[in-house]
């Protein structure tokens, strides 16, 4: 049975959505913009970054638009002073957690975290920087993993498991100790399950995963290829 249509309001506008859609999908389909970071169309949403939070009538909690399904009569606000404040804070906290130094980053100028910070008006960071000492895994012959630039969005984990079906990547440990690991915490160059396909690199929103040999500002990515590949696979299925 095809999914039913439901009526919801987004920023006051009455919109018809399918009941299997998330708030983000419904909003995007009706031309509304909600900022996102960990979300990549075509991969399973996980609500890792909390940038897409929205207000919904009837609850005090802020809901991640990428993982919250719509329901009949729902009324959602996608932009408000409160949301802007929370989203900005979220990005600031991402920036202080590890070592994001745009000026010397391979992805400078082509980074989703950087453009999001610009979009949200993050002109300064109000929290103390954490400056963790983190490794750079250069063991792979073609790619590099720099934990300093990782925001744990888990796009790499999802694209590898869902599209490449290799599931090289996982998230190890909890909270601030979380790290992306390949195989069972082997060095990437020694990870036997890796097919060297590079989808994780293309999906990564920052300079955490990059092609080897790319100098500062040289790493451009095309995550839209991941989306089109996922759609093509979905249509095939």
């Amino acid at each position: 049975m095809p999914p039913k249509n439901v009526s919801i309001r987004i920023d006051g506008e009455l919109i018809s959505a399918r009941e299997d859609q998330t708030i983000l999908e419904a909003a995007t389909a009706s031309g509304k913009h909600i900022p996102t970071l960990c979300h990549l169309a075509g991969l399973t949403p996980v609500g890792a970054c909390r940038v897409c939070i929205v207000e919904a009538q009837g609850t005090d909690r802020l809901l991640p638009a990428c993982t919250t399904p719509v329901h009949e009569g729902m009324s959602v606000t996608t932009s408000s002073a409160k949301l802007a404040r929370y989203r900005r804070m979220t990005v600031e906290l991402l920036l202080v957690e590890r070592n994001h130094v745009c000026s010397v980053c391979v992805s400078n100028g082509h980074c989703e975290l950087q453009s999001l910070a610009t979009e949200l008006g993050v002109t300064n960071v109000r929290f103390a920087f954490n400056y963790p000492k983190l490794d750079v895994d250069v063991s792979h012959p073609r790619y590099v993993l720099d934990h300093n630039r990782c925001i744990l969005c888990s796009r790499c984990v999802r694209v590898c498991a869902e599209l490449e079906h290799a599931h090289v990547w996982e998230v190890r440990s909890r909270g601030i100790h979380s790290r992306i690991v390949s195989d069972l915490n082997a060095k990437w160059g020694e990870a036997q399950s890796c097919t060297n396909c590079g989808k994780c690199v293309q999906a990564c929103p920052t300079g955490a995963l990059a092609e080897k040999g790319r100098a500062v500002e040289e790493m451009t990515k095309s995550s839209e290829k991941i989306t089109s590949l996922a759609r093509w696979r979905g249509a095939e299925a």
């Binding site: 000026s103 750079v136 250069v138 160059g189 100098a215 500062v216």
Partner: protein
């Protein structure tokens, strides 16, 4: 006994202070030059992929990021064991010559011209670029124009005027566009004319600086610079030559890879700047100078006609080798002339427009050394990497570092000549600062330190009491 501290030293790049010890009669007993900040680039780059080094080390300095980009890229070329395409080699020399022009113009017009044109004893409130614009607008305009010309070339090749991304391991990231080249050629005659009239002006003005020439760091010492096989001035490539104070060649033909055999490094009390020395003579006997004056002393000739004619005149007037640090200013202007001549040759060469500008390779050697002549002297980047290309050890020997001992001696000489009595005078402080400025030290680079340089002088009695304290920013 009293002590004078000049902290910070103004109109130089980076942070420094000078301490002058006075005896009971108010005579200078000793001087020390302190560089007060540490940067840590050699340490925090450990573990980074080697090919990120040019971008990271360029951030050492905003005046000559191109020098670090080039030295670092050369070290990376060595790790990749590639010979970069000839066009890339020419474009690198072009961007380097352009940066010499802009950096020397900055040193001469912005930092030192206020002393030279407005006078050492002029009111410090107007003894700066703003005062210069008011008093000598045509000279200030020339300085700005010349810098602009150099920076336009830097932008054309490196992508941006400061911290460009276009100089990369293996060559250059993008070819030079013909219309950009043509545009630069249009502006070249005006840059050459500025260099010509500034040099002519300064040669005439030098007669008025007999005392400074005699006492500004004029102790004879060794000069080091890069030369090619014919003894011509080389800024981008070339082999290291040491020429003794009496003019004989002490060591010659030293490749970058072999620098450690000839150059040792030691640390000094009360300064974050290391002091390199000429190893065969030990420390501190192996003191030598680098930079414009040292280069003109080390070479046989520049290799371009106008600069060579100027060099002949310079040597006739001041001797070969010339020793007064005050002559650094003159050497800088001659080098601007040389760099503009090289720029013309390179821009006229059709090969600079070739599209093949980058060689690609992985890690083919575990060690790479890049040596160039930065505007302030010899710059060496030395990296060791592991099998995967992660930096295991990085050593940077920066131009101003080589001059550390020489600057110290020059401060001593100027202090002995100009500092007298317990009460500091503004002109005295400024002469000590001016001799530091003559070397155009980039202390931000040499400590791998950031920000403006300013100078502060403190006068301390034998019992430790602060008698006087003068700051200038």
């Amino acid at each position: 006994m009293k002590r004078i501290t000049i902290d910070p030293v103004t109109r130089i790049e980076g942070h420094a202070k000078v301490t002058i010890q006075l005896d009971d009669n108010g005579r200078v007993a000793g001087t020390e030059f302190h560089v007060t900040q540490v940067r840590g680039f050699e340490k925090f780059t450990e573990g980074r992929p080697f090919y990120e080094m040019p971008g990271i080390t360029a951030r050492i300095c905003g005046i000559c990021p191109v020098s670090h980009l080039l030295a670092s890229s050369k070290a990376c070329d060595a790790i990749m064991a590639v010979r970069i395409p000839p066009t890339a080699r020419k474009l690198r020399e072009l961007v380097h010559a352009a940066q010499i022009v802009q950096s020397h113009a900055l040193s001469f017009f912005y930092l030192s011209a206020p002393d030279l044109l407005l006078g050492m004893d002029c009111d410090p409130a107007t003894r700066n670029i703003v005062g210069l614009i008011a008093a000598h607008p045509e000279m200030a305009r020339d300085g700005i124009e010349l810098r602009k010309f150099g920076l336009q070339i830097v932008e054309a090749v490196a992508g941006e005027r400061v911290h460009g991304f276009g100089i990369v391991p293996g060559g250059i990231s993008a070819p030079l566009q013909p219309q950009v080249r043509d545009h630069l050629l249009v502006d070249l005659p005006s840059a050459k004319a500025i260099a010509r009239r500034t040099l002519d002006f300064f040669k005439r003005a030098l007669d008025g600086y007999a005392e400074e020439i005699e006492f500004f760091g004029s102790a004879p010492m060794m000069s080091a610079g890069l030369v090619d096989r014919l003894g011509n001035l080389q800024l981008y490539d070339g082999m290291l030559r040491f020429r003794a104070a009496d003019g004989t060649i002490t060591a010659d033909g030293i490749e970058g890879d072999d620098y450690a055999t000839w150059i040792g490094e030691t640390t000094l009390r009360d300064s974050y700047m290391k002091a390199p020395y000429f190893k065969p003579r030990g420390f501190p006997g192996g003191v030598y100078r680098v930079g414009p004056l040292a280069r003109l002393n080390a070479i046989d000739q520049c290799g371009t006609p106008v600069a060579d004619a100027e060099l002949v005149e310079f040597r006739e007037r001041f001797g070969a080798p010339a020793h007064s640090a005050f002559l650094y200013h003159c050497a800088r202007l001659i080098e601007i002339v040389y760099a503009l001549e090289r720029i013309e040759v390179l821009l006229d060469d059709e090969q600079v427009l070739d599209k093949h500008v980058r060689a690609a390779a992985g890690v083919n050697a575990h060690e790479g050394i890049g040596m160039i002549e930065a505007p302030r002297g010899i710059l060496i980047h030395h990296y060791n990497v592991d099998d995967d290309g992660a930096i295991v050890k990085a050593n940077l020997i920066v131009a101003t570092g080589h001059n550390n001992l020489a600057i110290g001696r020059a401060i001593q000489q100027v202090s002995e000549r100009f500092v007298d009595g317990a009460k500091l005078t503004e002109g005295m402080i400024n002469r000590v600062s001016a001799v530091v400025r003559a070397y155009d030290p980039c202390l931000s680079c040499s400590t791998h330190a950031a920000g403006e340089i300013a100078m502060r002088v403190t006068l301390v009695g034998a019992d430790g009491e602060v008698l006087d304290d003068v700051s200038r920013f």
